[in-house]
Symmetry: C3
Subunit: 186 residues, 3 copies
């Protein structure tokens, strides 16, 4: 959370000899937070908007892209929850297999099979192109948000789980994700 | 959270000259919370059950209906998460396009197309009417809960995002939503 | 959270006469937590990995199985959120009807109808068996995580809601769920 738009909220209790109030850190260096958190772990919040670069239509494994932008903050949580919120209505976030890219291709095949597009589709909303209304439907099918447990500074996913960005539009565009971390500091 | 069933939990730290414990507020005036929170922002919880009035079968934009019932509480959070939990199994909550009502109509068309209903449907569970089993399936497809980031007292959704209530039953009925707000006070 | 892998994080504020820092409890007896929480309720976290025994392919009501493994911890929260995270990509968690098992059977019928399997399926990913790729798709349709409000030490679900484990593979296997509880202590 070292970007301008980021904020770290670390709640630190009073201790002797001088009682102190909760201290909120807005975009301060995390070094200070680290050093203090080691002594007095308390409730902590961090929030940051990250950007995923444009991806072509289909399902993409983006675990590393996301971790690379939040790892320093994530590492400060002993236990908590990471919430990822995609601010768009024509793409989605889901958790699925992280190894074989065929699984992602097959999932895209499924989505296209189940949601009609083009001449055969019954949609009224067509002004933004034939891929737009199907994109909205797919977005609600898979959802735009994920909540993942944090344990010992890491996302506590299963061995084969990864975070997918599913881009449902034909034209690749950058996608914004609001990341909110909440938990107990290390 | 000024209704009888509401509760605000605001954790306030000790400060000079008298150290104080965490203070829990149950249905108290939020004025007190506001004034103190400005000085000593700390972890805060608020929980309230709101009711959405009956909606006819289909997808409905309910962002304003929800905000009107939680805005005073929401405005007290600098950073956090808002959790909305629909206490029903034949309707759903989803986030999708907030502008063109055709998108909502087309989504209802899709749901009806994908989940068979009536004579052609293979369902065993038919005692509650032909629309009941399809409603349960649609409820799990879109889900009954949303988690949305809070930033500076507002839901931090994308420009085109809104909250939809999807009513899957033919008979409109009021729907309960448990709203839980959690974060750092302003 | 009395298992070896569990942890309770209870934030307790300073109070007279001696200001104290936040206290983190790692796998300690919950008795201590209970007695203190009654006096000074504060932000609290608990996290635990539980195991659901093997279930045959289909949808299963597992509310009791889960509650039996988290009830003592859950009962310590006055207000909060329970997060359940299935660490697998070929099963799912959803909330749906808790009474008539026909609803679960019909939902399984729907999933099998909508996701092709076997000779008629277009999947590239077939090495792990004909049921594997359909299982991945179903997992993203229903999702692998749930967030449920906690009120007065209990999951605040609707009268007819229950937690379902949907097993999408033919071979039953035990499934791990990371449970994270967060809220204000009783």
């Amino acid at each position: 959370m070292l970007m301008q738009s980021s904020a770290i909220f670390s709640t630190k209790p009073a201790w002797a000899p001088t009682p102190r109030g909760v201290k909120s850190l807005y975009g301060t260096s995390s070094d200070d937070s680290n050093s203090m958190a080691a002594t007095v772990p308390g409730p902590k919040w961090a929030q940051k908007t990250i950007t995923l670069p444009p991806h072509h239509r289909g399902c993409h494994l983006v675990t590393s892209q996301i971790l690379n932008q939040i790892r320093p903050d994530l590492s400060e949580f002993k236990c908590g929850l990471a919430h990822l919120f995609l601010q768009h209505t024509s793409a989605s976030l889901t958790i699925n297999e992280n190894y074989d890219s065929d699984v992602r291709d097959d999932t895209e095949t499924f989505l296209n099979k189940i949601v009609p597009e083009g001449r055969s589709a019954p949609w009224k909303h067509t002004l933004e192109g034939p891929d737009d209304m199907p994109a909205h439907i797919k977005s609600s099918m898979f959802g735009c948000a994920l909540t993942i447990p944090i344990t010992d500074g890491q996302l506590n996913m299963g061995t084969w789980q990864g975070i997918w960005l599913c881009e449902h539009r034909n034209a690749p565009t950058a996608r914004r994700v609001v990341v909110t971390l909440n938990g107990i500091g290390i």
